[in-house]
């Protein structure tokens, strides 16, 4: 049986197109120091460090974890690097959580990052392959046909993605750390933005960001040593499946459904829309909100878009289940950190620490990440109440 653990410190950087003032080490350091300060702790209070980032090709630093040990105070401690493509921020948090829930460690620091300005992440995701036609056009090129199939089978109107793109940017404008600050964005502006990978428009896609996110996870008996309210970890789950196999359900992947069912069971959730107060879900292209609403059981299959259009997921419109109050991946996307930001923002909500994007009285929240060809899933449920 897993031991109780909680998030006692959270640190983020201000997400930006370029952080030319710091090295990669300086970037992760900033998030880690912020998390330690939030937790009222120092380097000596940490027993192990878990690092995550997306493919090394993004920055061209192979095994960056070995170069980051000084910056993260790893000397003499166990250190581990995690990689599960875009979901890595979530899976890194879960590896850190399991270090504590297993009883092996009392306090673990976990840090994820990406410094996308050092290269071109889109083409690092779409490298030419030997003996092949080079037709891979980035993550957007991969996901656009899947979104098109969702639109076909659900019969959703064309502007659902536009609605999400506006909502998440308005949320981002409430979050001073968010990369994109677009308080005056309009649906018309999104609709008029360039169609990059039809049906994905420029403003329906995530930005490229530099940034890092860190958390301190502590065992039950040490939680009270940190000054601020904890976010209790109520459920953790990961699932994966192959990228391509005959008959694979790409729109509503089985691994995502299984992962959600697992994390809800642990947290005692039978009706996520009703029981959760908010969710931070990995939505890098706006249409993934209605798709994941269905995959995660917030809406019946084919009905996710109706929920989005009703305003149920909107913080501004007082929806009953606000999604991505922080602005989400659509507002900030340091890829390796993007999943952890979802996990950390879910924790901030139940700690009552989300500032202008706080959901009033939030007690239970979902953090979600996905990666690869929508084949790796990582989720946790965090709560204000000790289970």
């Amino acid at each position: 049986m897993a031991k109780l653990a909680a998030v006692v410190g959270i640190g983020q950087t201000h997400y930006k197109t370029r952080r030319v003032d710091v090295s990669i080490a300086g970037l992760v350091r900033e998030a880690a120091v912020n998390a330690l300060e939030d937790a009222g702790l120092g380097w000596d209070d940490i027993e192990a460090v878990i690092i995550g980032k997306a493919p090394d090709m993004f920055e061209g630093v192979v095994m960056p974890e070995s170069y980051l040990t000084d910056a993260l105070g790893c000397n003499g401690k166990p250190m581990l690097r995690v990689h599960t493509a875009g979901s890595v921020g979530g899976s890194t948090a879960l590896v850190a959580a399991s270090h504590v829930q297993s009883g092996m460690f009392k306090r673990v620091l976990t840090v994820t990052f990406e410094k996308q300005s050092e290269s071109n992440a889109m083409w690092a995701l779409s490298t030419p392959q030997p003996f092949s036609v080079h037709l891979n056009a980035g993550a957007g090129g991969y996901f656009a046909p899947i979104i098109r199939e969702y639109m076909r089978r659900s019969g959703a109107p064309y502007d659902v993605g536009i609605r999400v793109a506006v909502k998440d940017r308005l949320n981002g404008a409430r979050n001073p750390l968010a990369h994109l600050q677009l308080p005056n964005i309009t649906a018309q502006e999104v609709e008029d933005s360039m169609m990059l990978w039809d049906p994905i428009r420029f403003l329906e896609a995530c930005p490229s960001s530099d940034g890092a996110c860190a958390m301190v996870i502590a065992a039950e008996e040490l939680v009270s040593q940190s000054p601020r309210p904890p976010a209790w970890i109520r459920g953790v789950a990961m699932r994966s499946e192959p990228t391509m196999y005959a008959g694979r359900e790409e729109v509503n992947p089985q691994a995502g459904r299984d992962c959600a069912a697992d994390v809800y069971r642990q947290a005692g959730i039978t009706d996520p829309r009703k029981q959760l107060d908010c969710a931070e879900v990995y939505v890098p292209f706006s249409w993934y909100e209605p798709m994941w609403l269905e995959n995660l059981g917030f809406a019946a299959e084919g009905e996710g878009w109706r929920m989005t259009m009703s305003g149920a997921t909107s913080l501004d419109e007082g929806g009953d289940i606000p999604w991505n109050c922080s602005g989400g991946v659509l507002s900030s996307n340091p890829i390796g950190a993007s999943g952890m930001i979802r996990f950390a923002e879910a924790a901030r909500q139940v700690r009552g620490d989300a500032g202008a994007h706080q959901v009033e009285g939030a007690k239970l929240a979902l953090g979600h990440a996905y990666g690869g060809g929508a084949q790796f899933f990582a989720m946790w449920v965090v709560g204000a109440e000790k289970p």
Binding site: S23, D70, S117, N136, A137, P145, R148, M195, L196, A246
Partner: protein, 338 residues
């Protein structure tokens, strides 16, 4: 299984990285440009060259720069008999751990020497600067031997000690970013199943493989079924007609690909196959492409056929009725009668 040819292809993968140095490494590189070398003082008093941003023991942020000497002693080395193109010297040379005078920790650099026998622990060396330093570690072109040897523990005092008038971040002159392009060259050898596929497509034949357990046909084949995890070896020759499973219209150019946007990239399933692959669609109105549409390969002239999927230039629509969505990926090899 039919014998496959052994197919190997030289391949380059590269990116033009631009690295932010941060204040500490930036200062080190800025100093190199002025033919000076700076280390940093660690929490225990040791001088580390090149400077570390954070203390390796205490994790404290470090900021006390110390100028060190331009001579030093070899701590250890290894001899490179046959330099490669990417090496800094094109004659035989040594990689060496060099403790500069005034430093407590050795740094790695190269040492020019006429013969391996000239190298020794304790051998004294001196910096040879590049003619035009630019703020890169290669501003130190190499080290040269002074022809003297000191005891292993001796570490003569360094240069001026405290770091005086260094350019600092924010100065126009300071180095803050460096170009760090990386190009990997390697030979890719196709496995048995892809090699067989490529050998056959060179003859204009599309060959997939059937899973012995689930009976699904994969093309291009990978030699195993990703769903069942079993080896596949039954070959299935497929026609060049396909159905559009989904698609996107791409508005941005692909690097090193001459195709001009907007172009249609479609997920296509060949008749008799159960998995899609992506390829170009052309000879069509982009706005009329749709899920379920029937298409056929347009091949390059036979004389241009090689071991590549782009023997097929693109797929074009054909005059056959659309395939209902629930039948896409499930058609027999004989195709779609409508």
């Amino acid at each position: 299984m039919t014998q496959a040819e052994n197919l190997s292809q030289a391949f380059e993968l590269g990116f033009t990285y631009t690295r932010s140095t941060g204040p500490v490494v930036g200062r080190f590189l800025s100093a190199l440009r002025e033919r000076r070398i700076f280390g940093i003082r660690a929490s225990d008093g040791r001088v580390i060259v090149p400077p570390a941003e954070y203390d390796p023991d205490t994790a404290a942020a470090l900021d006390e720069f110390v100028e060190v000497g331009q001579c030093g002693s070899i701590v250890s080395w290894c001899w490179v008999k046959q330099p490669r193109a990417a090496h800094p010297l094109q004659q035989p040379f040594a990689w060496a751990m060099i403790r500069l005078d005034g430093a407590d920790v050795p740094m790695v650099h190269c040492v020019a020497a006429a013969a391996e026998e000239q190298l020794a622990t304790g051998a004294r060396v001196r910096v040879v600067w590049a003619e035009e330093p630019r703020g890169y570690i290669t501003d130190i072109r190499c080290f040269e031997l002074l022809g003297e040897t000191v005891g292993e523990t001796a570490s003569p005092a360094g240069g001026s000690g405290a770091a005086g008038d260094l350019p600092t971040p924010g100065d126009v002159a300071a180095v803050t970013r460096i170009d760090a392009p990386i190009y990997l060259h390697y030979n890719f050898t196709a496995g048995a199943a892809p090699a067989r596929f490529l050998t056959r497509i060179r003859e204009g034949v599309l060959t997939g493989q059937r899973c012995p357990r689930c009976a699904n046909v994969y093309i291009p084949p990978r030699g195993s079924c990703p769903a069942c995890g079993v080896a596949t070896d039954e070959e299935v020759v497929l026609p060049d007609k396909a159905t559009v499973q989904s698609f996107t219209v791409v508005a941005i150019p692909i690097p090193n690909n001459p195709i001009k946007p907007p172009f249609v990239i479609a997920n296509l399933v060949l008749d008799g196959a159960n998995i899609s692959f992506i390829h170009l669609m052309s000879e069509c109105q982009n706005s009329e492409v749709h899920i379920g549409q029937r298409v056929q390969a347009v091949w390059k002239p036979e004389a241009q056929w090689t071991y590549a999927m782009d023997n097929i230039r693109y797929f074009r629509p054909i005059d056959e009725p659309d395939v209902p969505v629930e039948r896409i990926g499930k058609l027999p090899i004989t195709g779609w009668e409508g």
